[in-house]
């Protein structure tokens, strides 16, 4: 063992002994012979690089015996030159073909970007590792046109990603994630309550298991045209991720081992907190409840702040009643005054350490990469943490001249503990904002337990009754009601490639994604909620078996043909077993299901789904200017009725590089593309048969019910048809780059579990419910305004506008409802966008004045009416990179215009008197005359109403539109500064390619229209969005990175 370790260490140092020498040369244009300034020269496989100077000269440190240099310049063919011992390299670059950019497309096929008839955008590793987050989805925010990301806060929380907006009312609209060919599960198992911000833990979506350090590139295939070959799950697009392997290392000519290390430290702090009032304390009214020993007694049990003015009167605070030895607060009256330790003191600075260590190796016939990453995070909530370990291996071996074998295997263990509760009524913010007493001191609350183990809460029932009325001490919640979770995940593939001859090759592969997800939740004895313990274990495995016959043939000089014919069998197995206690816990502190005071309940469930597919693709290229792709796929799904379970869907796309044919001044590249595609979709298992739901026995009697959801034996597959067209054009030797796309897609026969009038005997019924349309534009514009020998300035802009609509619904269905909370529903009706809020609205006169009744209270509609939609008008981002020699600066601002959210923090915070506006303008002392006119006379309102009456009756509690807000924002999303140490500074050290960086994420909200909260609301990755309740405050991240090779 020891000897092996020594050998390994020796290998490491062998890797560092490559001699670094000065290598120099000149770069010229191949046709004109003129020197080229600003060409990027990089030592291949490293981050070391320089630009050529005004005369096209460059000079850098490299190892002439093994290194290769890569020369790249917009508008020119990227050229790779192996040094082979030379220290002088003069290069002639060929112009005009630099856009033979290769991107990864469906089924992992690398294609020339110019040949594609649809939009593909790619992000490299830097986008994910230079300003890390715990969820790779978050790193995509603002970087690609038409990609909308909304994220929760707190450790390991959810991130929802939409490509081209929500196109369907079904499922969650999330794209399919594919890692090295493995379709990855992205479930979050969020509860319905959690989705609508009504409580529960946010466990995040499972794609966060991906390790940013292992990502080589990410291709975003936005439309169904791009993803038709992945089948139904890709109808919302696909995100195709290629992980690092040893292949690049091997191809660069390196042999032996290379080691690289990357470390980050990040600090998280909350930065969006409500504006609170600090004039009045807790209580239902300004009167004291009682006077004891000459001191007033506040109403401890009331969870609102309409109490007496915080004028310094000496009162008996909640914590003056604990008669324990040494308790200095017992019996002492203290001033009734604004708190000296407010809500922000509840939070701490969260710290994250992320360390990656990887070894890459290659021989003439094989290569591998082995990587280990540890992500160790403590949250801004005390006693919360997330610890993730990732081990990944990728290897390839050329077994014979014709046979190549490769394997990749990843193991991820993710352990969360002490996640904060979310949503209305459960999140800690609920008792600070929605229902709270403003005079409370966090410092004092931190002492949450008496010496005898009993609970100390501010919300005691009365002087004599210390038990909690509605709320636990927030620190009790942190330290006593602790959840924990663990997910162990293995995914990978085994692939064999057999080159039959020059034309045909055969690939067979097996891919699997498997995890066990275990969650435990606890409620301690002594708090307000019934003591409880639950554990839930979920096991998911998806296995795909593929075989493809690929062919490539140049039919003549002008025409080439490539394509494949393949089969796929997908098997998805899900099992879950959960158990929870009933009636409390017998023994405090013992968290087992058998400790339930009235026993326990067990829930077990399993489902299976199999889809068989035959698919094929043919691509024709003519004179390298005109390209045509045709694909077809037929699926057989186990989830549909036998007579309807087979469905075929084709696609056809074309692209034409007109700049090869027409000469337009200043245009260096131009292409138009057009495509049409269909994607079919099946449904969840078990939606076609009749079954009964079994209840807990009543005594010894069995109990069963007809399920609330009615199944449908006549379901048909749903089909999405989409059209896409676009143009790409580069000008001034590619210094200005434009990519524009228009798309329009229609989904028919949507399969949806439609909520219906319960008077039908069911609360929902599974139907082919209707038709939706989704259309929009995407624009990406980037340029390089300045480029000199040492300095380069890039700026990029992306913009997307998406419109969707529910076109029609099946007979007998009036609307599609996603969810509702406190009378506000999120639904879709024909002719309206998917995701429209309904609620009561103010009444207005013709001049737009709000109407009031004769007492001065706002009037509202008789029926619920549309009061907003979650659909934004447009989204986008602006980024810029400044690079001076080895120093680079990057900044990203992203924005959303429009879209609407319903805020319960605002609604209840006004109702309960915690927010600033409930004590402004002397409203409590003098009341308020609301702006409006009398409905009876049309005269301006002059009636004074009390503050409490105003905030009870004129707000979202009664008139929902009052707390519906515009979700527009402009955010400074990301900034970073990176420095690559010049290799001459590191010569002689055992390290090379050292880079250091500082970065910040979510640095500031530059603009928003909703008070008190962050307009970006997400508590799950589900389709239910836009309800904000007890929002956990947004967090800002500041971090530093260090990377180097050994």
């Amino acid at each position: 063992m020891k000897a092996q370790l020594l050998f390994f260490m020796a290998l490491l140092f062998a890797g560092t002994s490559w001699a670094q020498t000065q290598v120099s040369g000149t770069v010229t244009d191949k046709s004109s012979g003129e020197s080229l300034p600003g060409v990027t020269v990089v030592v291949d496989g490293t981050g070391t690089g320089v630009f050529t100077d005004l005369d096209g000269r460059f000079s850098l440190q490299a190892d002439p015996s093994s290194d290769a240099l890569v020369f790249s310049f917009v508008g020119y063919n990227t050229t790779r030159i192996k040094l082979d011992g030379n220290t002088t390299v003069n290069v002639k670059l060929e112009s005009g073909v630099a856009l033979d950019e290769v991107v990864v497309t469906a089924l992992g096929v690398s294609r020339e970007k110019k040949a594609l008839g649809y939009s593909v955008q790619e992000l490299g590793n830097d986008a994910f590792t230079q300003a890390k987050t715990e969820n790779v989805v978050r790193s995509m925010t603002g970087k690609i046109a038409g990609v909308q990301v909304t994220s929760g806060t707190s450790i390991g929380s959810s991130s929802k990603i939409l490509l081209r907006g929500a196109s369907s009312i079904t499922g969650d609209n999330q794209p399919l994630f594919v890692v090295d060919g493995v379709p990855m599960d992205n479930s979050d198992y969020s509860t319905a309550n959690q989705q609508r911000s009504a409580g529960g833990y946010d466990y995040g979506n499972a794609i966060q298991d991906l390790n940013p350090d292992d990502i080589e590139s990410v291709s975003v295939l936005k439309g169904p045209a791009a993803a038709a070959l992945y089948g139904s799950r890709a109808s919302n697009g696909a995100i195709v991720i290629t992980t690092k392997s040893g292949a690049g290392y091997q191809a660069s000519g390196k042999r032996g081992l290379g080691v690289s290390v990357s470390s980050s430290v990040m600090f998280n702090d909350v930065y969006v907190l409500p504006d609170y009032q600090n004039s009045y304390g807790g209580g239902p009214g300004t009167a004291w409840v009682d006077t004891i020993g000459g001191h007033p007694i506040p109403d401890y049990g009331y969870d609102g702040s309409w109490g007496p003015a915080l004028d310094g009167t000496l009162v008996r605070h909640w914590d003056s009643w604990y008669d324990y030895e040494g308790d200095e607060d017992f019996g002492v009256a203290r001033p009734w005054a604004p708190t000296e330790s407010d809500v922000e003191e509840f939070f701490q600075t969260g710290v994250t350490y992320s360390n990656n260590f990887s070894v890459t190796g290659a021989s003439d016939v094989s290569s591998f990469r082995l990587s280990y990453t540890n992500h160790n995070q403590t949250g801004v909530y005390e006693n919360s943490s997330l610890n993730r370990n990732t081990l990944s291996f990728a290897g390839a071996n050329q077994v014979s001249e014709k046979l190549k074998a490769s394997v990749s295997a990843n193991y991820v263990q993710s352990i969360g503990e002490g996640r904060p509760l979310t949503g209305y009524g459960e999140s800690v913010m609920s008792q600070f904002t929605q229902w709270g007493q403003r005079q409370l001191s966090m410092d004092r609350l931190r002492n949450y337990m008496n010496p005898d183990g009993s609970h100390r809460t501010w919300n005691r029932n009365s002087v004599t009754d210390a038990s909690p009325h509605y709320w636990d001490n927030p620190f009790w919640e942190r330290y006593m009601n602790v959840q924990n979770d663990q997910r162990d995940r293995v995914f990978g593939n085994i692939t064999l490639n057999y080159q039959i001859n020059d034309v045909f090759s055969l690939m067979g592969r097996a891919l699997t994604d498997f995890y066990i997800d275990r969650r435990e939740e606890r409620i301690a004895v002594g708090g307000v909620r019934e003591p409880y313990y639950s554990e839930y274990t979920r096991q998911l495995q998806e296995t795909n078996l593929d075989a493809y016959l690929n062919f490539v043939k140049d039919l003549n000089d002008d025409l080439n043909i490539t394509g494949f014919l393949g089969v796929n069998r997908r098997i998805r197995d899900y099992k879950s077993l959960g158990a929870y206690t009933l009636g409390g816990l017998n023994t405090a502190g013992l968290y087992t299901v058998t400790n339930g005071a009235s026993g326990y309940e067990v829930l077990d469930y399993q489902d299976q789904k199999v889809v068989n597919s035959v698919l094929g693709s043919v691509s024709l290229g003519f004179q390298r200017t005109l390209f045509l792709d045709i694909t077809g796929r037929n699926d057989w799904s186990s989830t549909l009725p036998t007579e309807n379970n087979s469905y075929f869907y084709p696609s056809a796309t074309a692209s034409y590089v007109f700049s090869e044919v027409v000469d337009i001044p200043a245009l260096s590249f131009g292409k138009v593309r057009v495509g049409w595609a269909q994607v079919g979709n099946d449904t969840d298992p078990y939606r076609t048969g009749v079954t009964y739901a079994i209840n807990t026995n009543f005594g010894s009697s069995g109990s069963a019910t007809v399920p609330n959801a009615q199944n449908n034996p006549n379901l048909r597959p749903e089909i999405t048809s989409s059209f896409e067209a676009g143009v790409e054009a580069n000008f001034f030797l590619d210094r200005l780059r434009l990519d524009f796309t228009y798309y329009n897609s229609t989904t028919k026969d949507l399969i949806f579990n439609v909520p219906v009038s319960a008077a039908s005997g069911y609360s929902s019924t599974v139907l082919n419910a209707g038709e939706t349309n989704n259309k929009g534009i995407e624009l990406a514009l980037s340029g390089t305004p300045v480029m000199t020998e040492d300095f380069r300035w890039d700026i990029g802009f992306n913009f997307a506008k998406n419109q969707n609509e529910l076109v029609s619904l099946a007979d007998g269905v009036e609307n599609i409802r996603y969810t509702s909370l406190f009378g506000v529903t999120l639904e879709a009706r024909p002719g309206q966008p998917l995701g429209t809020f309904y609620g009561y609205d103010f009444l207005y006169d013709d001049a737009g004045n709000k109407l009031v009744d004769d007492d001065g209270f706002y009037l509202y509609t008789d029926e619920v009416v549309p009061i907003g939609t979650i659909l934004p008008d447009f989204t986008g981002g602006v980024n810029t990179t400044l690079q001076y020699k080895n120093l680079s600066f990057y900044a990203l601002v992203d924005f959303q215009k429009g879209g609407s959210i319903h805020s319960y923090s605002n609604q209840w915070g006004k109702y309960s008197g915690t927010l600033a506006e409930t004590a402004e303008n002397n409203i409590r002392e003098e009341g308020i005359v609301v702006e409006g006119v009398y409905a009876s006379t049309g005269e301006a309102n002059t009636s004074v109403i009390g503050a409490q009456d105003h905030f009870f009756a004129n707000q979202g509690y009664v008139i929902h539109a009052a707390d519906q807000y515009d979700a527009s924002f402009v955010k400074l999303r990301e900034m970073r500064l990176d420095y690559n140490l010049p290799s001459d500074m590191t010569s002689g050290l055992p390290f090379s390619n050292i880079s250091v960086g500082v970065f910040g994420r979510n640095l500031a909200i530059l603009h928003k229209n909703v008070p008190h909260i962050d307009p970006e609301v997400a508590t799950s990755a589900s389709n239910v969005q836009g309800f904000e309740g007890g929002q956990l405050p947004a967090e800002r991240t500041i971090g530093i990175n260090l990377k180097f090779n050994l």
Binding site: P284, G285, V289, D299, Y302, W306, N461, S462, I500, F504, E530, G566, V567, R569, L582, G583, A597, S598, D607, V610, S613, W636, S638, T639, T642, Y686, T688, G689, T691, Y692, I694, T696, F698, S701, S703, A704, T705, V706, P707, N708, Q710, V756, S757, A758, A759, S760, G761, Y762, S763, T765, G812, E814, R817, S820, F822, G823, T825, Y838, A953, V958
Partner: protein, 489 residues
């Protein structure tokens, strides 16, 4: 040539994989292993009976609405509902849990016994299973129509065949109720009663009594607007002599002590204590020195019975310490407090009313009145017959001397006896106009005065708009004050 061979081999392989068990095993794969495809109808009956009562005593439907509408309880905090701001969305749950719950389960019992009788006749005779299911449906529909007025009934429970069922106006609902009850009563055969019956253990004689008593109640409620039909039905029911006339006949759902089979009031009380005794009821009981006081309410910290003022605003309600007012009695907060479908006292009050209306009854109005009071006392654990006699003998209670006309006399005592059947107490207040109920002390928040019906749940507005709209028209509005069809005066 060699390549072709390889190709054929390959295509064969592809075909083999693609069609391995393609269609046949799909049906098996898509058969739900988690839930049965058939169950004993007895399981459905048990669930239906429990779920009707679960909703009747639900925190929002039963406690915040029913028990406060009858002013049996007051809010000690968050008092909006006691001042008639209910918010229509809080009725969604009850609507769903009655229709898509027990009503649908009972319909399935009827359908199974109609469509595949031989599959289910081992769980009681087909006719008797259907009869019991219909009676429980009738009970539930009456409960719903008395809260709302027009409701979906003749087009309800058809699933995907009609996802937007029309509303029947209340007159039609009442006609349909009598038909449903008559069908049930005439349909019973001499076979075995249904299995899974938690109320009567499958005793069909008891279900006959239940059916006739329910028919009497339905008839009496329409007595002021459809007197001829009401009289005919009531006399039919009374004429059988098979009614719930003793407490041993009571239709009770006997909850068990622990979750999830405990009374919902008990479950709610574990985490919240939002209600106290209402002064409306406590004052009446105190003035009559009513022996039921201790069974209804607990004494306050000073050992007295003090009701919390009904309809305080939030600040005032919160300022009344819990220790200062009477709370709900311990027995009512217990997990095994039974759900009451029908009790003998009601039958006698109805029979007394029949006599007063000049219909053929069993005993005289006064005899029924006295019997009803005595049976109520017995039900609440007061067995001292002398004390009961003394109570009845006092001038304010005695039938001959109590104040007001027969409606007020019967109404007042019936309201006292209907404690824990909030909706029935409220319904009889609307019908018999006996006063007593007071306006909320700190004012009415929605509507005008004490409500005469509930506003429809928000879900119906958004999921069944056209039918809802027609239903509103049939009622003459969707306001809290819109009187129901049978609510004249």
């Amino acid at each position: 040539m060699k390549m072709n061979k390889q190709l054929f081999l390959l295509m064969g392989l592809i075909g083999a994989i693609a069609f391995t068990g393609c269609r046949k095993d799909f049906e098996e794969i898509n058969t739900n292993p988690n839930e049965p495809t058939s169950v004993s109808p007895g399981f459905l009956l048990t669930a239906s009976q429990k779920r009707i009562m679960d909703e009747y005593y639900d925190a929002f439907w039963g406690s915040r609405r029913g028990m406060q509408l009858a002013q049996y309880w007051s809010s000690n905090q968050y008092s909006n509902e006691s001042r008639y701001r209910f918010r229509v969305e809080t009725a969604n749950g009850a609507w769903r849990d009655f229709y898509a719950g027990p009503l649908a389960d009972l319909q399935r019992i009827i359908d199974l016994n109609t469509d595949t009788p031989e599959d289910v006749n081992g769980f009681g005779s087909n006719a008797n299973q259907i009869a019991v299911a219909k009676l429980l449906q009738a009970w539930t529909y009456q409960h719903l129509t008395d809260a709302y007025g027009a409701i979906p009934m003749s087009e309800a429970l058809m699933g995907v065949e009609n996802t937007t069922p029309a509303y029947d106006d209340q007159a039609t609902v009442y006609t349909n109720l009598l038909t449903l009850i008559n069908d049930a009563l005439s349909g019973m055969d001499g076979g075995a009663g249904p299995s899974g019956d938690q109320i009567y253990g499958g005793d069909m004689d008891m279900w006959t009594k239940f059916g006739n008593s329910l028919k009497l109640r339905v008839a009496m409620r329409m007595a002021d607007v459809s007197p001829a039909a009401a009289q005919a039905a009531a006399e039919q029911a009374l004429g059988t002599g098979m009614l719930i006339v003793g407490n041993e006949d009571n239709a009770l759902f006997n909850y068990l002590p622990g979750a999830p089979n405990n009374n919902p009031i008990n479950e709610d009380y574990k985490t919240r204590n939002d209600f106290a005794a209402s002064n409306t009821m406590v004052d009446v009981l105190a003035s009559l020195n009513d022996p039921r006081m201790g069974a209804y309410y607990a004494m306050n910290a000073d050992g007295e019975y003090v009701g919390e003022v009904y309809g305080l605003d939030e600040a005032n309600a919160a300022l009344t310490p819990n220790a200062a007012v009477s709370q709900r009695a311990e027995g009512i907060l217990a997990g095994d407090f039974p759900g009451i479908f029908f009790d003998a006292a009601q039958t006698h009050f109805l029979a007394a009313e029949a006599a007063e209306r000049g219909w053929t009854s069993i005993l005289s109005a006064e005899e029924h009145y006295n019997a009803a009071i005595g049976l109520s006392m017995n039900f609440w654990g007061i067995d001292d017959e002398a004390a009961i006699a003394d109570y009845i003998a006092q001038a304010d209670v005695a039938y001959g001397t109590a104040a007001g006309d027969w409606k007020e006399k019967i109404g007042r005592q019936k309201w006292i006896a209907l404690y824990m059947q909030g909706y029935e107490g409220w319904a009889e207040w609307r019908r018999l106009d006996f006063g007593i109920l007071q306006l909320p002390a700190d004012g009415v928040l929605e509507g005008d005065g004490i409500p005469h019906r509930m506003e429809y749940p928000l879900d119906e507005q958004t999921l069944n708009n056209a039918s809802w709209s027609a239903g509103v028209t049939a009622n003459g509005g969707d306001a809290l004050n819109t009187p129901l069809w049978w609510d004249v005066n």
